[in-house]
Structure formats: structure tokens, C-alpha cells
Amino acid sequence: MATLPNPIAAGPAARERRKARRSAWWQAAPLTLAFLLFFIVPLVMTLVVSFWNFNEYEIIPAFTFKNYQAIFDGCGSLTNVCVTLKTYWSTLRFCVIVWAVTLVLGFSIAWFLAFHVRTVRMQTLLFMVCTIPFWTSNVIRMISWMPLLGRNGLVNQALVGAHLVDRPLDWLLYSDFAVVLAFVHLFTFFMIVPIFNAMMRIDRSLIEAARDAGANGWQILWRVVLPLSKTGVIIGSIFVVTIVMGDFLTVGVMGGQQIASVGKIIQVQTSYLQFPAAAANAMVLLAIVLMMIWALTRLVDIRKEL
């Protein structure tokens, strides 16, 4: 990317370069346009609308900070924490827990697939097995937990039947536990793919060299494999973090609609035609997620590693 123009080259070579540069612009144009049209323009519109006023049935082009003020209303108080902070706290907590669990699970599974499965055919087959949860819709996957975890569900029946508990456990469904479980079930795959990809690119002779130099399994994992698959870990983390931050469906269904999420607040507001308020919330959420991604990319230069 960052090749400096060569001052010695001139004449036909320079023309050639100009031509190449022009064609590069043409090649980038379709994606740029698509981005502009479907990403930048809506985003700018959302930003603009977030400063507009609204009533029950219309949004009014005006300039007001009302929507942002409503979000942070009462957030200065330490004793009585405001809705926004509570909601972000709840969402961030899910984010951290889900990230940690999917990271450990995803890394272990990827490790197994990359280093323990010998044949490429077996690797492909097992990799396909990991995609099975994606064959059905998100909602159906979540709903299928209910007969399992419900008060009269299979797990409770088994526990009561085995006399491990006297009464059915209520916290299995419509609880934080259920939400985390569903998230992990849904999103571990997003961790597996990039980590597996990174691991497959590790030169096997490096591991042999480490072993020859007397490293044990743990040291190989910690000193060789982990640093070399860091890119995969970061990419997977970005996937998981952004999805969990914006989710309202999983939290809604598995939490019995009793647990707040930022996405849910935005959804309620849009369904009541409070678009400017929803837009303001969306902008705040976007800013926070961007900061998280920025922090993650500080840890690793993804462009260099790719």
C-alpha cells in the first residue's frame, strides 16, 4: 500500500503507473458506492434525525438535544442509577461473559480441529458439523431450548427424577443463565472460524522447533500458537462483541422479556414511532461499540497480520 513514488522512473513508466492507479479507482468504485449508498448515507441520516424533535405521529425537523438529554437523564446520580447505565451495564456484562466463554470454547475447538485432526477430509467434516446450528433460523434455535430448560422441561424432569433437587429449578429458563447459554450456542462458531483459519496458517515446523527446543505442550500453546493466532482471536472477538451489544431478540426470548438490552430500547422506541429518540440511542450505541472495536484493534494490527 505505502510504496513511495520512485523519483527516477519517468516517461512511459509514470504513465503506466497513472493508468494502474486509475484502474484501481475503478475497481474500488462499486464497493465504495455500495458503502456510500447503503452505509454512510443511512448513518448520516440517522445522525441527523437523532437531533430532530418528534410527537406521537410525526418527526419534526428541528435541532434539539432533547433526545440525548433523555438518554442521560438522571445519570449523574450514584445512588439511583439511571436506565441507560443500568441497561449498558447489563448488556456489557453479557458481552464479557459470552466473550470469555466463546473464546475458551472456540479456541479449544479450533485447536482440536487444527492440530489433532490429521486428515483434511475429517477436518472438513467436523467443520461442517460446527455449522449445523446455522441450518435453522435463529429464533427456532432459541425456542428449542424451552422444552429442555422449562419448569416441566427435560432437564428439570431428569434432575427431579434423579432426586438431585426437590423442586424444579426456575433459573434454567428466563434468566441470565438462559441468555448466556443461548448466546454461546449461537455465536461460538463465529469464534471458531477465524481462530481455526489463523491456526491453519501456522507453520508446523515452528511447533516442531519449539518441541525440539524442549518446550512442553502448555508452553507451545502459550508462547507459540496463541501469539500466532492472535489475529483470529481478535476478529472472532469483534464478531461476538458487536453481535451481543446489538442483540435484542436473544435477550428478549431467553430472558422472558424481563432483561433490558440496548437493542430492545431502540426497538420499543421505533415501534412507537419515536424515531429521533431511537436514532439518538443508536448513535450512542454505535459510538460505544466503535470504541470497543478500536480498543481491540489496538491489541493487534489486523491489516498487517492478514
Partner: protein, 446 residues
């Protein structure tokens, strides 16, 4: 993109008027004509003054795009209407909130809207709907006084909230003001209405339930559910709080800020005490919660209770001493509708009030806007069960033929007179709606 669409729509409606006018002039039968580009061209050419164009070939079928919640959108009704008139109905089913959103943001995307009366407080000021001409509605004066005057058998019924009588009439066809007294211009022509209450699992509760207060009774800790549609959920909560004596309201359907604060505070307290198992948003969620036994008492809708029962699980739509929370829905027309589509829309509304559709929906537990006509399409024993509240003398079946009730059962809540007479409040949009939604989010986050 959207600009282009609106111009297209305008051109099409203009064309429709042109076709309609010229067709009438030429005295041809173009009643079932449609709105394709071809008819548009023909209409335009004809309008330009070329006489003797063969209009007969322009006879294409009219399709009415019917926007509404799935409640009234039965395939059987569309089929029967097509048999009777040749006009096609195309359903656009959405949730209550999305119907409102669609009417305000995309008023050209439908020809007839079936929406709830309480949304009118948002819809009418936005100016996308037009007043319906009562003179064109054959049974306009036969529409039940429950909706038009808020009374039954001469007796006044509860009018807290957005009672239909408050928003039934407009001061003028294109007015955005409601008229407190009846006028010729109606906002919606009613289709169905009902009175909602709590659904319970009598087999799991094992004691009589007769008050809304039981929704928040600690006895059902972890086994109660609430509707997570803020404007309706808060009214159910208000019914429960008022019944338990914890709160007093001037108008549960139009709370003041302190009343909203008090209600939400009480709800948060109940939530922290673990009263609620879950909140539900759509019909099927409420059915699952009840049928699986996760919940034994919750705010519920009548067809959901029926569905739980047809699954073989006992479930009662329990009448309560404080009364019901009622709702009503009706047909509205977009301001842009013109020409033969407008005529077809009126034809459909008149057909809907003519009895067949009313009887069909009454067999699902709703009430029809015009009872007399619906009665003519029902068996006497059906009428006795659904409306008179008498024990069933024959098996009661759903419109699809599925068995609903055995001989001898009585409808939950009894007769039409009893149920409608016990209405306490109506689904509503409050003046403080924006504040209420904000506080409701606080409750969910608590």
C-alpha cells in the same frame, strides 16, 4: 426510489379516475377493471378524447390490499368475498404497532386498513386517513351502540381510555379533529371488538380467581406474566393495582405523570420480588407460557385462550369483578384512495357488515359490529351460546370445524350483555405516551 414510487401511485390513481369517468360516459361495464399499465394507457388515451375505444377489454380484476393485524384476516373471508363479488383481497398482516407505523409512514402501500380505535389518536392528526361517508354504509345506523355511543341496552358502560365513541366521528371528511357528537364522517367502520381479561390455569391454581389483584398476588410468585406492549401492559397493571387498593386513577387509559410513576414503581417492586415469570409480546408466546405451565395467571387475548384449550390444556378466560379491558378495530381508508378502488373498498366494507364475515368471526369469540345481520348467518344454538350466554345445546365448533366446546358448557363471562356491560376501560394511547414508554423501559431494565 421512494419519490418514484409515490409519483407512480399518483399516476395510477389518476389513471383509475380517468378510466372510471370515461368508462361511465361510454356506458360500458368496467366495474371489475383494474389498474395495470395497459388500462392506464387506455385511460389516458381515452381521456385525451379518442372515442369508441374498446373498454370492455379493460375488464381486469380489482385487488384490494388489506392492511391489518392477523385477527380478522382469514383466508375464508377473502375467498367468500371473491365468490360473491369477484374482487380479490390481498392481506398484509402486521402487528398492531406496525400497522400504525405503516399507515403513517407508507399511506400508499395499502387500499384498506384494519386497525384499532386507540391508534386513531396518532393516525388522524397525521392526516393519512380520510373520513368514511356514513351514507354509503348500508348498516351505518345498525352498528352497535357499544361502540358508537358507549352504551348497551340504554346503560352507559365504562369509557376510560380511548373509548371508540370518543374517536368515532370527524368534524369533516378531511378533518384532523374528532367530533364529540355523531356526524356523517366516520374514522373507522367497526369490524370486531371484544373484552379482554386475565387467563388462568384453573387446574394449577385450584381456587377461584375473581379479581385483577391476583395478577400481583405473591401467591403466584414466579408464575405470573404481563403483556410487554407498553400501552396495553400498563393498563393491565393499573387494573391489578387499583383492585388491590395500592393505586387510584382518574383515568387508567390516560394517566398523569405521577400516576405513571406510581404504577411503574409498584411494578418494579413486584418484579424485584420475583412475581413475573416472563413478559410476552405475541400471541404464540402467551399460548406457550400458559400451555407449558410456566405461567398460571397472565393477561391474555381470547383466541389465545381458545388455542390453549384446543391443545387439551384447561384454561379459563376469567371474568373478574373489576370488569374488562376492551378493544375494538375497524376499517379505515387512506386519503389517496380514488375511483373504482374506492368503490370496491366501500363494497367490501358493506359486504363485511352484511353478516357472513360477522358470523364467522363471532364463532372465534369476537363480536361483530352489526349483530342482527350476523345472527342471520348463525345457527340458533350458536347464537344462544356465543351471544346469549346459554349452555351449549350442541357441540360448539370453530369456523374450521374443530371442536371448541362440548354440550352443556357456558361461555366464559356469559352473555354479550353481561360481558360488554362490565367493560371498565378501553385500550388507549395516553397524552403522556412518550413519558410512559420511557418509564416502561425503566421497568424492563430494573
Amino acid at each position: 426510489m421512494s419519490d418514484k414510487k409515490t409519483t407512480d401511485a399518483r399516476v395510477e390513481t389518476d389513471a383509475a379516475t380517468a378510466v372510471h369517468d370515461t368508462a361511465t360516459n361510454a356506458n360500458t361495464t368496467a366495474e371489475h377493471g383494474g389498474l395495470s399499465r395497459r388500462t392506464f394507457l387506455k385511460g389516458a388515451v381515452a381521456a385525451a378524447g379518442i372515442a369508441g375505444f374498446p373498454y370492455v377489454h379493460a375488464q381486469e380484476k380489482i385487488t384490494l390490499r388489506y392492511l391489518g393485524t392477523a385477527v380478522n384476516q382469514s383466508a375464508d373471508i377473502a375467498k367468500k368475498f371473491k365468490e360473491d363479488t369477484g374482487i380479490e383481497i390481498q392481506y398484509i398482516p402486521l402487528t398492531t404497532d406496525d400497522v400504525t407505523k405503516r399507515i403513517i409512514t407508507q399511506p400508499n402501500s395499502f387500499d384498506i386498513a384494519d386497525t384499532e380505535y386507540f391508534s386513531l389518536k396518532k393516525l388522524i392528526p397525521s392526516g393519512t386517513l380520510v373520513g368514511l361517508d356514513a351514507k354509503k354504509i348500508k348498516y351505518a345506523d345498525k352498528i352497535t351502540p357499544v361502540l358508537t355511543h358507549g352504551e348497551i341496552g340504554g346503560k352507559k358502560i365504562g369509557d376510560q381510555g380511548t373509548a371508540p365513541k370518543k374517536v368515532m366521528f370527524l368534524t369533516d371528511q378531511h378533518s384532523t379533529q374528532f367530533s364529540p357528537t355523531p356526524t356523517e364522517w366516520m374514522t373507522l367502520i367497526p369490524t370486531t371488538y371484544n373484552a379482554d381479561t386475565l387467563g388462568i390455569r384453573p387446574d394449577l391454581i385450584k381456587r377461584p380467581v375473581n379479581t385483577w389483584a391476583d395478577l400481583l398476588n405473591p401467591q403466584f410468585k414466579g408464575k405470573a406474566a404481563l403483556l410487554n406492549i407498553p400501552s396495553i401492559g400498563i393498563m393491565d397493571a393499573a387494573m391489578a393495582l387499583e383492585a388491590s387498593g395500592k393505586m387510584k386513577y382518574g383515568d387508567k387509559g390516560n394517566m398523569t405523570k405521577p400516576e405513571i410513576d406510581g404504577t411503574i414503581a409498584a411494578l418494579i417492586e413486584a418484579k424485584h420480588a420475583g412475581q413475573f415469570r416472563a413478559f410476552w409480546r405475541d400471541f404464540n408466546e402467551s399460548v406457550n407460557l400458559m400451555a407449558s405451565g410456566e405461567v398460571v395467571i397472565q393477561s391474555m387475548w381470547s383466541p389465545a385462550v381458545t388455542k390453549v384449550r384446543t391443545m387439551g390444556v384447561p384454561c379459563t378466560f376469567q371474568p373478574l369483578k373489576e370488569g374488562y379491558r376492551a378493544w375494538a378495530s375497524g376499517f379505515g381508508l387512506p386519503r389517496t384512495l380514488q375511483g373504482r378502488k374506492l368503490d370496491a373498498a366501500y363494497q367490501f366494507i358493506n359486504w363485511f357488515l352484511d353478516g357472513w364475515a360477522g358470523a364467522y368471526l363471532m364463532r372465534q369469540g369476537y363480536y361483530a359490529a352489526v349483530l342482527e345481520t350476523a345472527r342471520q348467518h348463525m345457527q340458533p344454538f350458536e347464537w344462544d351460546y356465543w351471544i346469549e350466554g346459554k349452555p351449549a345445546t350442541q357441540e360448539i365448533k370453530a369456523p374450521d370445524g374443530q371442536l371448541l366446546e362440548k354440550v352443556g358448557t357456558v361461555r366464559d363471562g356469559g352473555s354479550y350483555q353481561t360481558r360488554m356491560g362490565a367493560i371498565a376501560c378501553w385500550n388507549a394511547v395516553m397524552d403522556e405516551n412518550i413519558y410512559m414508554v420511557q418509564k416502561w423501559n425503566e421497568f424492563i431494565a430494573a
